[in-house]
């Protein structure tokens, strides 16, 4: 560290009251910004949980679909049509729907049922207990052990329930990459059993899951499906479509944005005000430094260094605090959806840079304005 920056560092950290106020302000702002954006990121991730967990490369659906949770059944012939497209390695149906489960204690619990293609079981979860072959046994279902699992009364293999007056049996316990958004447990079964257990409309296929022969075939498949009047999206495109729905067609995105902006303003107000006071209190000393022989750019580097140091320290503390709070919240609230992503961190970092830049700009203006002659004049 250059000597002049060493002085700047000491002036900053030795003024404990202001240093603490600056740190608290920026830490709090960063915490709020990351918490808000992480909550939103968590909601977006969970909203695409089925897409993530099934993991198909291409999803074929009705063009009116907005989220994976709202299905519009496809006619059976679409499956044959898609399978006939050159470049399709395979295509399988997926059933996705909601149902009410009657638990052994007599209570009802809403669940999400995913019916996998009977032949391939494409999209099956990773089993923690049980045998995947047992899914073909009578009344067989696999329960997903996620944050909603307890709502099924933590069933063991062999546990029974009722679904539309049908007997169901848990034959496997599995885990998946992402829990769902709506707080309901998930059960996997075969496609045909899902149709057999649940009331259906004329068409029954919720989605077609397609694997292209090569990644380059995806574009041609999408064109062919579009020509048939349906929509084919890659996994990432489908996730993006769902995210866009929650961002732009619900109030969630706007509310989160407002909260993030408010957090930014709070951080800017506290740190800007405190940093301004800090500079004003040291203004005469900066003037004395100028008289002694400090150059303008050296004084500017001192101010920028102080602003950058306190901002980065506050940023680190804010990130740490946010991570700790999310970890604590998840201990007690399994449904807590916040997820800190790289983009949340970058966004908060950029906002902190703006806070530091604005705060130091005010200080720099003051310091550049002070004339050493003013020090002599008192």
């Amino acid at each position: 560290m250059g000597g002049i920056l060493h002085i700047a560092y000491k002036l900053l950290v030795n003024d404990r009251a202001k240093y603490a106020a600056l740190l608290v302000g920026i830490t709090f702002a960063v915490f709020l910004m990351i918490e808000m954006t992480s909550l939103f990121a968590g909601i977006l991730t969970r909203s695409s949980a089925t897409v993530i967990n099934i993991g198909a490369s291409i999803w074929v659906m009705d063009p009116a679909i907005q989220t994976v949770a709202n299905t519009i059944p496809l006619p059976d012939y679409v499956l044959d049509e898609v399978r006939s497209i050159p470049g399709v390695k395979y295509a399988v149906p997926l059933y996705s729907g909601g149902a009410l489960l009657k638990l052994p204690d007599g209570t009802y619990q809403a669940v999400n049922i995913l019916g996998l293609d009977d032949t391939s079981l494409f999209g099956r979860p990773i089993l923690d207990g049980g045998n995947i072959q047992d899914i073909y046994a009578e009344n067989a279902f696999i329960a997903v052990k996620d944050s909603e699992f307890y709502k099924l009364e933590n069933p063991k293999i062999g546990a029974e329930f009722e679904l539309n007056d049908h007997r169901g049996v848990i034959v496997g316990i599995a885990h998946v990459a992402s829990s769902g958004l709506f707080g309901v447990p998930t059960l996997y079964t075969t496609y045909n059993r899902a149709l057999q257990y649940l009331p259906n409309s004329r068409f029954t296929i919720s989605y077609l899951l397609v694997e292209p022969k090569t990644p380059a075939d995806a574009a041609a498949i999408k064109r062919q499906v579009a020509a048939a009047g349906y929509l084919a999206l890659t996994k990432d495109e489908f996730i993006q479509k769902i995210s866009n729905f929650y961002k732009y067609k619900t109030g969630i995105g706007t509310n989160m944005l407002i909260m993030t902006v408010i957090s930014f303003i709070i951080g800017l107000s506290i740190s800007g005000q405190t940093f301004y006071t800090f500079v004003i209190e040291n203004l005469e000393k900066f003037g004395a430094l100028k008289a002694i022989g400090a150059k303008g750019h050296e004084l500017i580097s001192m101010i920028f260094f102080q602003a950058a140091f306190v901002s980065l320290t506050g940023y680190g503390m804010g990130v740490g605090l946010c991570a700790a709070i999310i970890w604590l919240a998840r201990l007690y609230l399994p449904d807590y959806a916040a997820t800190i992503t790289f983009y949340n961190l970058v966004l908060a970092f950029l906002m902190v840079v703006v806070i530091a830049a604005i705060s130091s700009y005010v200080g720099v203006r003051k310091v550049l304005k002070i004339e050493p002659f003013d020090i002599f004049r008192g």
Binding site: G2, I4, I7, L11, A291, I292, G293, F373, I375
Partner: protein, 234 residues
């Protein structure tokens, strides 16, 4: 004859615009020599601080020249002038202007640090100068823990730490009680003045006139007298 340290010629400075325009320093010319203490005295508003600022490279005169050891300082760029002050001129401000959040030694070391000297080396040299001013045992204390006289000595140590040829003291007794102020200037006379250093003191404290070699008297922006005889007349 002693070498000329400062040569001010026909210095003029105006402040303000229009009717409020004031001629603060009017055609002031004088010389200060190495090895002497020169006082600039006069009542408030007489222009002595303005004149001091112009000869120390802080306030640009509207006309006239200032030569320090033969070099015209106002032809230098702003950065070069700052560099010049850093190496050639030491300042002791009226209110000391010590950083309360730094230790005494760190305050003294500031000019060396501005000269890009190594931090530890600068602190070591600062302690040498604190020893000169009798405050080595206060090196690690913040200035707020020191008395006014001690703070003044710290400011003097800071001013001499880079071994400047010219030392500027602005009202050195103004913030001190009578005895302390007198002792400080006596100390400067006995321990800080050397054959290779010129000390300029701005003051209106007549109790310390006895320590001056010559006095420049100012009134209404004009120089009304200079010399030893002026001092003897006090």
């Amino acid at each position: 004859m002693a070498k000329t340290a400062i040569e001010a010629a026909a210095l003029n400075k105006w402040f303000g615009e229009g009717e409020a325009r004031t001629h603060a320093v009017k055609d002031v010319s004088f010389e200060a020599h190495l090895g002497e203490i020169l006082y600039v005295v006069g009542p408030s508003g007489s222009g002595k601080t303005t004149m001091l600022s112009m000869i120390s490279g802080i306030l640009r005169p509207d006309s006239g020249t200032v030569k320090i050891e033969g070099s015209e300082i106002w032809s230098l760029s702003i950065d070069a002038l700052a560099e010049f002050r850093l190496h050639k001129i030491g300042f002791v401000f009226q209110d000391f202007h010590l950083f309360p959040r730094l230790t005494t030694a760190e305050n003294v070391a500031i000019p060396l640090i501005l000269q890009k000297r190594n931090w530890d080396e600068a602190l070591k040299e600062a302690e040498v100068d604190l020893e000169i001013v009798g405050l080595k045992n206060r090196a690690q204390l913040p200035p707020v823990k020191l008395s006014g006289g001690e703070q003044q000595r710290v400011a003097i140590a800071r001013a001499i730490v880079s071994r400047p040829d010219i030392l500027i003291l602005d009202e050195p007794t103004a913030s001190l009680d009578g005895d302390t102020g007198r002792n400080i200037v006596k100390f400067v006379r006995e321990h800080i003045l050397t054959d290779q250093r010129c000390i300029v003191i701005v003051t209106h404290d007549s109790r310390i006139y006895e320590f001056a070699d010559r006095i420049v008297r100012m009134e209404d922006g004009k120089m009304t007298g200079i010399g030893r005889e002026n001092l003897d007349a006090q």
